[in-house]
């Protein structure tokens, strides 16, 4: 099938799809006139019921906590999949990590990049940790905080060499942390069942002040576990790809 044939088929089918979409669009109540009862119902009761002022995180980890467990395990499986797919195949060998600088024909990292990366690593770790632990107060949460923590480790790679990055995040410790994060979330739900309540019901004390760091029971705890799991998953993914680029060679 030639490329222009492909293009014509796409245009015909795409027009059909667009027609269907616009027909469905005519039934929507318009942008800004959200009528649905679910949103306002949750907004009315969320702060009083969970003592959390961040309603989105309360929904993520309490009202719809079961969906979030599923999503987190998708993340876990995807990171594991990357580690499996990028394993050393038959017919490849892994170079010793020490001689990678010998035949590299790329220019060395400029000192401006190294300085900026070193300066920013500490604040980024702090910001990521703050985001992961403040899910119930403001627009923070485990997912955002975890990704920022992973970015801090990539900054370590940028400011040094791959060996330094590997020393800061050895594979078995990263995998163990990821497992602790994913398992911790499920364990919180199961411990609610062990007490005779529903799975993932909020059973820890809710605290006095809505929105304080120690309030809202299991929401803060779950957000912390999600944060370390997401960080470990992304560090694993970046480490695997870096190993592929720098260490694994064909032949031998």
């Amino acid at each position: 099938m030639t490329p222009s044939q492909r293009r014509w088929i796409f245009l015909v089918v795409g027009t059909g799809l667009a027609a269907f979409y616009l027909w469905g669009l005519s039934g929507l109540p318009g942008f800004g006139n959200y009528p649905g009862p679910y949103g306002p119902a949750i907004l009315r009761i969320a702060v009083a019921q969970t003592n959390a002022t961040g309603v989105v995180s309360a929904i993520n980890f309490d009202y719809r906590g079961f969906d979030t467990v599923g999503e987190e395990f998708i993340l876990f499986v995807a990171a594991t999949g990357v580690a499996i797919v990028l394993r050393t195949l038959r017919g490849e060998r892994e170079r010793a990590a020490v001689d990678e600088a010998a035949d590299r024909d790329v220019p060395p990292t400029s000192s401006a990049v190294r300085m900026v990366a070193v300066l920013f690593t500490g604040p980024v770790v702090l910001a990521g940790w703050w985001l992961a632990s403040h899910a119930q107060t403001d627009p923070s949460g485990g997912f955002q905080g975890g990704v920022m923590l992973a970015t801090a480790f990539v900054l370590i790679y940028l400011s040094g060499e791959f060996l330094v990055f590997k020393r800061f995040s050895p594979a078995d410790i990263t995998e163990a942390v990821e497992a602790v994060g994913a398992g911790g979330y499920a364990a919180i739900g199961v411990s609610a069942v062990a007490m005779g309540l529903a799975y993932l019901k909020d059973f820890l004390p809710l605290g006095q002040v809505p929105g304080a760091v120690s309030s809202s029971g299991t929401i803060a705890l779950i957000s912390f576990f999600v944060g370390i799991e997401v960080a470990a998953a992304f560090i694993l993914i970046v480490a695997e790809l870096l190993e592929q680029t720098l260490l694994i060679r064909q032949g031998g």
Binding site: A18, Y38, R64
Partner: protein
């Protein structure tokens, strides 16, 4: 303004799909898939928007201020992070396909056997 965001959603989706269909390089195809996915985030947030409302966070505004729908925001939030990990999985498939077949052209890869 009543339907303009949804028309933009349809445009982004169409453009992303066009890129996927007529691509000659696997990494370019994956990037166009990312663009097509981003149209769903705009659609989710556009559906839940209430005119003149604030964000659903009550630590600095009084309780029961009219806010936009928080449920679609929760959906879009986890959506963004999880799709990134799945994209990384797709890219690792592309790396192994290149090692195995020597080419990254999807129209050639479709004809190879074994």
């Amino acid at each position: 303004m009543q339907v303009f965001p949804f028309v933009v959603v349809a445009w982004i989706l169409g453009v992303g799909l066009y890129g996927v269909v007529t691509s000659r390089h696997l990494v370019h195809q994956i990037i166009c898939l990312i663009v097509a996915q981003s149209s769903t985030y705009v659609l989710l947030l556009g559906v839940g928007y209430v005119t003149g409302a604030v964000a659903p966070y009550y630590f600095d505004v009084p309780n029961h201020t009219p806010a936009v729908d928080p449920v679609v925001q929760a959906c879009a939030l986890t959506d963004v992070v999880v799709e990134a990990a799945v994209t990384a999985l797709l890219l690792s498939f592309a790396v192994q396909a290149y090692k195995r077949f020597g080419t990254l052209d999807p129209q050639e890869l479709a004809e190879l056997k074994g």
